[in-house]
């Protein structure tokens, strides 16, 4: 049973899914790009490892799974909230969003969720399929790791979306934040272990990164998936991941009220 107020967000989400299927034309370009990056990275790791094993028992085979799953996760971490805010402020259509009896962030979230559901079919499945065909079938280390993986992916998505939303709030009060959003995007890619796992980084740097929220987006679920850390270690890190979700949720709650008060509306 959904409360009636929840139902309107469900409908926004549904509208978005239908729209994504009707109007998305850039799907193939996106899949192609992702696949090229994925395959190149996978073969880079293969060439680098040869038949050797890394100190925590990682093999070239593990790295290929890591790469495929990183590409798959990157689809799940697609968010539109920053662009959505930025564009609405630029065009002044934020006025329309605000005159409706909705929680605007609830609406942005519902829209992102709708997009995501469309992307599961439009991007995630094709990439998983292409990865399996061109590289290898990315099997999880053990069946018993599945629940932990699922939970940590959901927490990752929460960290990722909250970070995007908090960054997006800057755009309420300033017109162009594009440059900043780009920097953030690339920083996350680098610092989250999405391309290079942080066990390859120098110890001191890995230490710093472990204290930031970003490694809890990619690195942790991927470690669980390929089984590159002990159970106790994983549990400890999932706790930190959960704490980050709570911290970011608190910041989000705090800032969202304030930022809406400062909304800028362009044009008559």
């Amino acid at each position: 049973m959904f409360s009636s107020s929840f139902r309107k967000y469900l409908f926004i989400c549904k509208t978005r899914i239908i729209r994504s299927f009707t109007y998305r034309f850039d799907v193939f370009g996106n899949i192609l790009m992702q696949t090229i990056v994925m395959v190149t990275t996978a073969f880079f790791w293969k060439a680098l490892f040869q038949d050797e094993t890394f100190r925590n028992g990682i093999t070239a085979d593990n790295m290929m799974t890591y790469t495929i799953m990183s590409s798959v996760l990157s689809v799940l971490f697609t968010t539109g909230v920053e662009r959505r805010i930025q564009e609405s402020v630029e065009k002044g259509s934020i006025a329309i969003d605000l005159m409706r009896p909705v929680n605007v962030f609830g609406m942005f979230f519902a829209e992102d969720l709708g997009n995501l559901i469309a992307l599961l079919f439009q991007n995630l499945l094709p990439i998983l399929l292409l990865g399996s065909l061109l590289i290898k079938v990315p099997t999880i280390v053990s069946v018993s790791a599945i629940p932990m993986f699922a939970v940590s992916v959901i927490l990752s998505m929460a960290i990722n979306w909250l970070t995007a939303a908090i960054f997006g709030m800057w755009a309420f009060t300033a017109i162009s934040m594009d440059a900043l959003f780009q920097v953030k995007k690339h920083l996350i890619r680098l610092l989250s272990g999405s391309i290079i796992p942080i066990w390859f980084f120098p110890k001191w740097l890995a230490g710093i990164l472990n204290a930031l929220p970003f490694v809890y987006i990619y690195q942790l679920p991927l470690d669980i998936y390929i089984g590159s850390a002990s159970n106790e270690e994983i549990q400890g890190r999932m706790l930190i991941q959960l704490i980050w979700v709570l911290i970011l949720a608190a910041l989000f709650y705090l800032f969202s009220k304030k930022s809406l008060k400062k909304v800028l509306v362009q044009g008559g």
């Binding site: 009636s4 409908f11 926004i12 009707t22 409706r100 009896p101 300033a174 900043l180 509306v265 008559g268």
Partner: protein, 325 residues
């Protein structure tokens, strides 16, 4: 119904640098300039009124409308809709109002008109039956029925405005805010829109607040005018009462048989050409009948014409007055 108390809005305009460097720098420290768009407005609107909110370009009308509709948060002061502070309780309070901006649409470009309506039905949680009832009413006033299947991107401006008006009425708001609704419309569409406003006002008792630069809108619709300039209230009252106060005169045009210019102690001569003389006189001091009989006793008159001060004169004078003060 609506109470506006000591309402202020300042815009912070920042001179931001270019590129990434400029963006980063402006996050921490930037040159800011404050523009006072609305500087202390106070007024009250009763249920069932149609209020024209007028003033020259840049006087703060749209800014005020945005604060009254919960879109912008006032720098200080408050707007109460039905006793509720809309900035504070935006989500609940916006249910009671409908908004149409002539210059932007709330209709979804990618959807058919009916699909946007359906989305709004869900967002406002309108019962299917009520929704169909409203659509029927809207169809009888605006002929919206034939547009329902049309993609919004293919609509003309006039059709789009009809769509927006219907969208704003779906949840049966108590107050309707219209910011320059007739902008860009042809005579027929303007007529339809004015008829619509009058009808929802009489049939449904909807309170209407509109801004416009169209004198016809003002003359036909507004019982009450609120005139602002530089974000300050300049005048507030009945249209006829404002006319009486700002332009309490008439013009009498007299055509004589000869080319002469008779004078009258209480009338001022505006122009005299050929046989025609135009007199301006105060309504308070002199009746038209008296003036005509006085003049005709001096010289035989062939024809006369009386003009009230036009609404355009009123607006021009009201705006000019506000610039001086």
């Amino acid at each position: 119904m609506i109470t506006v108390r000591d309402l202020h809005k300042e815009y912070l305009v920042s001179e931001k640098g270019k590129g990434l460097g400029g963006t980063l720098k402006s996050l921490f420290r930037n040159e800011k300039k404050i523009i006072g768009a609305v500087n202390g407005l106070d007024f009250h609107v009763n249920k069932g009124e149609i209020v024209g909110f007028i003033g020259p370009n840049g006087s703060g009308k749209s800014t005020t409308i945005k604060m009254m509709t919960g879109i912008l948060t006032p720098t200080s002061g408050e707007v109460l809709i039905d006793g509720r502070n809309i900035a504070r309780y935006r989500k609940e309070t916006v249910r009671k109002i409908g908004v149409v901006f002539g210059q932007r649409t709330q209709l979804n470009w990618d959807l058919r008109l009916e699909e946007t309506f359906e989305l709004l039905r869900r967002i406002y949680q309108i019962e299917k039956k009520d929704y169909l009832d409203i659509l029927e009413v809207m169809d009888s006033i605006l002929g919206i029925g034939e547009l329902l299947d049309k993609p919004v991107r293919q609509m003309s401006l006039g059709q789009r405005v009809k769509g927006d008006l219907t969208a704003a009425m779906l949840h049966s708001p108590k107050v309707l805010f219209l910011d320059e609704p007739t902008i860009g419309l042809d005579a027929g569409s303007k007529y339809a829109l004015r008829k619509f406003i009058k009808e929802i006002n009489t049939i449904r008792g909807t309170t209407v607040i509109l801004t416009t630069h169209d004198l016809g809108d003002i003359q036909e619709l507004c019982e009450r005018l609120i005139i602002i300039n530089n974000g300050v209230m300049m005048d507030d009252g009945n249209l006829s009462e404002i006319v009486e106060r700002i332009a309490p005169y008439r013009t009498l045009t007299v055509e004589y048989y000869d080319s002469i210019v008779p004078t009258h102690p209480k009338a001022e001569i505006l122009s005299a050409a050929d046989n025609v003389v135009r007199y301006k006189f105060m309504k308070r001091e002199l009746t038209a009948a008296r003036l005509i009989s006085d003049l005709s006793s001096l010289h035989p008159i062939r024809d006369v014409g009386i003009e009230e001060a036009g609404i355009d004169d009123i607006i021009r004078i009201a705006y000019a007055k506000t610039v001086q003060s």
